[in-house]
Amino acid sequence: MLLIECPYCGKRPELEFVYGGEAHIARPAAQMEVTPGQWAAYLYARSNERGVHAERWRHTRGCARFFNALRDTTTDQFLATYKIGAARPPAGPAQESP
């Protein structure tokens, strides 16, 4: 079981969290002008990164708040977690073990 650092609550076991998919995918603003291809890209196309992946998590069984994380999908190691709305941090070294 992974320990995931919620930016609000600190390190908690993985079971308290729900994965929320790729982060930083913005809904198209000008909805009336969006083509079907742009909708499909927003709804379905994913980078599916093999390496550092920016993704959403929700601390459902804790504070219930969403946050973002950088995780290396080749090791499942979390490199950073940050609040929604914050810019993606540079992929630094992994978080230290407690």
């Binding site: 079981m1 992974l2 993985e14 079971l15 729900v18 994965y19 998919g21 790729e22 079907p36 291809g37 909708w39 499909a40 890209a41 709804l43 379905y44 196309a45 994913r46 980078s47 599916n48 990164e49 093999r50 992946h53 993704e55 995780r71 999908t73 080749t74 090791t75 499942d76």
Partner: protein, 417 residues
């Protein structure tokens, strides 16, 4: 190709087994091919085989970054069935099932296809309704599937617990008698041997590092860890790593890669005569010919390429299995592993042309690709050779996500399938 038969077996037995030859060559890559398949699993090797046999393309290579059959082909739980809800899926998976039925003879390779029956359990009124809907839809499509009462299910599979006092009691089951299992490694090896004998080059330890396009925008070469290979047709069968390959040419696909775990137990005497699946409690189990219980479930919760998974996910699966089969409680698990499966939003595959001329993709099989291997390979070879889809895979485009023509087996099954 050295044909396998009772006679050659006898001859080799009498002459000290010294006459067996390697089943396929291990050639150096040539500088160019008519078509190159990226990914040496069952789907890729099968595609190369059908390209050579049915479409007379003999200058074909299969590039595999590891060893053939070492990815999901060697990691799945070998279940074969075709009882999918929608017409498009039923046509595709039943095409595969029909090819499975004669595959050992066609390839002269014992793929140990065993149509022992696949039983899908219902645990609630909702399950019962949706499974009966599947049964009726399948029968309209000429796919065998029948409804069993709990007593009939237990008669077919005596180890099953049909007591009413368990947390998820068995209210009935659907049974596809033509479904079953096959030997996964043998599928890769059988296709590899047959394709090789038709002149296909199988090149292992060869990773694609780039896809080059010519002035006309079409594919014209692959950069690989073993040098540049020129080709005008590339078929990508890279399963969980499809996004990685396609990102090299800037094609973003509606795919996410998740670990899917499986486990095998210590070998037991024959105890489970069929495949038992439960979508409701998320577990499936069969018994291999070696006697091991082969167990699987749904994917892990988050995307990953680690080929392992979280312990609590497999624990959940085993809890379900132990409740359905109380006799298995004290069985020890020997191995647990993961494969990386590429999942589409509607849980149906993509077997299609891409926006790049000469580049074709066969992906998105999610948790259920093994069963489709021969059918998938057959229609994908057609698509590559003729530059147009076979009628069976015509609905399985990338554009269906743009145009809204989803083949929503995800909603039909309510879980991974």
């Amino acid at each position: 190709m050295q044909l396998f038969s009772a006679l050659t077996l006898l001859k080799e037995g009498l002459s000290g087994q010294r006459g067996w030859r390697a089943q396929w060559r291990s050639p150096e890559p040539k500088s160019s091919y008519d078509a190159v398949i990226v990914g040496g699993g069952g789907h890729g090797l099968g595609t190369a085989y059908y390209l050579a046999r049915e479409h007379r393309l003999t200058r074909v290579a299969v590039l595999e970054k590891g060893w053939i059959g070492g990815g999901n082909t060697g990691r799945n739980t070998t279940i074969i069935r075709s009882n999918y809800l929608f017409d498009e899926s039923a046509a595709l998976y039943d095409h595969a099932l029909k090819l499975w039925e004669s595959l050992a003879q066609v390839l002269n390779y014992n793929v140990m296809f065993s149509p022992r029956g696949v039983m899908m359990l219902a645990h609630s009124v909702h399950d019962e309704q949706i499974i009966k809907r599947h049964v009726h839809a399948n029968r309209c499509n000429g796919v065998d599937n029948e409804w069993l009462t709990p007593e009939e299910a237990k008669a077919f599979c005596p180890a099953l617990n049909i007591e009413h006092n368990i947390r998820y009691p068995v209210l009935g089951a659907a049974l596809q008698r033509r479904g079953g299992t096959a030997r996964h490694d043998a599928v890769a090896w059988g296709y590899a041997r047959a394709a090789d004998s038709l002149g296909v080059d199988i090149i292992e330890n060869c990773e694609v590092t780039g896809i080059n396009r010519g002035a006309d925008g079409a594919v014209d070469a692959l950069e690989t860890s073993r040098g540049l290979i020129r080709t005008r047709k590339v078929g990508v069968c890279a399963a969980g790593n499809t996004s990685v390959v396609m990102n090299k040419v800037g094609v973003r696909l509606p795919l996410e890669s998740f670990p899917l775990q499986a486990l095998v137990s210590e070998p037991l005497k024959p105890v489970l005569p069929c495949v038992v699946m439960s979508n409701g409690i998320h577990a499936y189990v069969s018994q291999s010919d070696k006697g091991e219980l082969v167990i699987g479930a749904g994917t892990d919760a988050y995307t990953s390429y680690t080929q392992r998974g979280a312990l609590h996910v497999s624990t959940h699966t085993l809890e379900a299995i132990c409740e359905l089969f109380p006799a298995f409680r004290r069985v020890q698990m020997l191995r647990n592993w993961g494969g990386i499966v590429d999942v589409t939003p509607d849980r149906s595959p993509i077997i299609a042309k891409t926006g790049v001329p000469g580049l074709y993709v066969n992906c998105g099989w999610g948790t259920g690709g093994f069963k489709a291997t021969p059918g998938s390979a057959h229609v994908f070879a057609w698509t590559i050779a003729r530059d147009e889809p076979h009628p069976i895979n015509a609905p399985f485009t990338i554009e269906r996500f743009r145009d809204g023509y989803l083949i929503d087996e995800a909603a039909a099954a309510a879980v991974a399938h």
